[in-house]
């Protein structure tokens, strides 16, 4: 029996997909693949790529962190933000990366006093993650592992 995956954020239901054979998620303890008949699990997620594989098809999503619950072959992903990779705005991610790097640079040079470093580096991480997914998926090439 395949997995039923619900990917939801506070703003919208991103995808409800019955019939997923493998779900790959960016767990906070490392990437993991979830197969049918998985034990009940609750974990936090890091920013990264979430992939649903089913019947020779693959759907990729960018997730910026959140929670994942597995129970009885039902997987619920409570994401902070999530979008199908087709919807990723590469230009926006690039702009966010530049902004975050600029902020961190200013901080290292001691020119930015009251700076929220944690926020800037989290933003940097998110934008890099999006850019990586876009680069990997949109470029035609050999099949990915």
């Amino acid at each position: 029996m395949p997995l039923t995956v619900e990917l939801v954020t506070a703003e919208r239901v991103v995808r409800v997909e019955p019939g997923v054979d493998v779900l790959v998620v960016p767990g906070s303890e490392g990437q993991m693949a979830i197969l049918p008949h998985h034990a009940a699990l609750m974990t936090t997620l890091d920013p990264g790529e979430l992939v649903m594989r089913r019947a020779g098809q693959e759907d990729a999503f960018a997730v910026t962190g959140g929670f994942l619950e597995v129970r009885n072959d039902r997987v619920t992903v409570l994401a902070d933000a999530a979008e199908p990779f087709e919807e990723i705005d590469a230009a926006r991610a690039e702009a966010a990366r530049a902004r975050a790097e600029e902020r961190l640079r200013l901080y290292r040079e001691g020119r930015a006093g009251d700076l929220d470093v944690a926020r800037a580096s989290a933003a940097l991480q998110r934008s890099l993650m999006r850019l990586r997914i876009v680069q990997r998926r949109r470029r035609p090439g050999p099949p990915r592992v």
């Binding site: 939801v8 703003e11 699990l41 619920t76």
Partner: protein, 292 residues
């Protein structure tokens, strides 16, 4: 008695007003559908979060370390904050007045000093007039606030609470019951009172979960998001409530304008008829005088 010309002018003026209220009604109706749709979209996330948190909290209440998460701990109250969420605009019937009365009464009833964080101009203006201490204000969130717009509010609330500037936080918002009813509601945000377990089965099975990295870490991640979600939900309900209250208010205004138009038109006809009768009498009288 108004002259016919005055009556005509009055009728035209009422009709013009009706056109405007009718347009506003249609706009509000379509915005209301979108606002309700957004509230609908956020429900699965909210529901899931509640179930998980209810389970975790009941489980952790036996575990002393987890129960001591700062957002769960209730401490002696010396300062209170009220997050007052209202629309930015009026023309929505009694909604703003009801909201402000409810929150105003609540604030007045507290024994400890209260500071208000206002979201929306109508609530802000009310507390400014009432000389209540405003800690912060957020306005112009727009008709369809996004979650990102609300994160700054959540951050401020949680930071103030963790810094012990306030020891208890309430949220006041217009609960969207139906298109016709919006209920001013006040709920406690902090310290978090874990939602009561929804279904028995979820609670029973939660003990069997594998937690990564650990239950404490998962709980510590869930709690701020629970606050985030509650605030976001309240703001969405505020948006939906405002649009439906405005739609209903504008519908009433349009109906009233049509009633007035009908009455005035009748008066106008009567006046004209009277005038014609008078003229006829004059003519008949004149003719009779000539013949005589």
């Amino acid at each position: 008695m108004a002259t016919i010309r005055q009556l005509k002018r009055r009728i035209q003026s009422v009709k013009n007003t009706a056109k405007i209220t009718n347009a506003l009604q249609l706009v509000a109706a379509s915005k209301m559908r979108r606002a309700q749709d957004r509230a609908e979209q956020s429900r699965p996330y909210a529901q899931k979060l509640r179930v998980v948190l209810a389970g975790l909290a009941t489980q952790s209440s036996e575990d002393q370390d987890v129960a001591r998460h700062p957002l769960l701990v209730s401490r002696p109250v010396s300062n209170i904050a009220v997050l007052h969420i209202t629309p930015d605009r009026g023309l929505c019937g009694g909604l703003n007045a009801n909201m402000n009365r409810s929150a105003g009464t609540f604030v007045a009833m507290q024994h400890e000093p209260v500071q208000v964080v206002a979201v929306g101009k109508k609530g802000r203006d009310f507390f400014v007039r009432a000389h209540v201490h405003l800690a912060a204000e957020f306005t112009d969130l727009g008709d369809y606030p996004s979650q990102a717009d609300t994160l700054g509010i959540t951050r401020l609330i949680i930071d103030d609470y963790l810094a012990e500037k306030v020891d208890r936080v309430y949220v006041s918002f217009p609960e969207f019951v139906s298109t016709a009813t919006q209920r001013p509601t006040i709920r406690q945000l902090l310290p978090i009172e874990p939602p009561a377990a929804v279904e028995g089965e979820d609670e029973a099975q939660l003990a069997d979960y594998i937690f990564e990295p650990s239950p404490d870490v998962v709980l510590a991640g869930l709690l701020p998001r629970y606050i985030e979600m509650q605030i976001y939900e309240a703001i969405l309900q505020n948006a939906a409530s405002f649009q439906s209250a405005q739609m209903v208010a504008m519908k009433n205004a349009t109906d009233n304008a049509q009633d007035i138009t009908r009455e005035l038109t009748l008066t106008d006809y009567k006046a004209r008829q009277e005038q014609i009768t008078k003229e006829l009498l004059d003519i008949v009288g004149g003719a009779a005088a000539l013949e005589g």
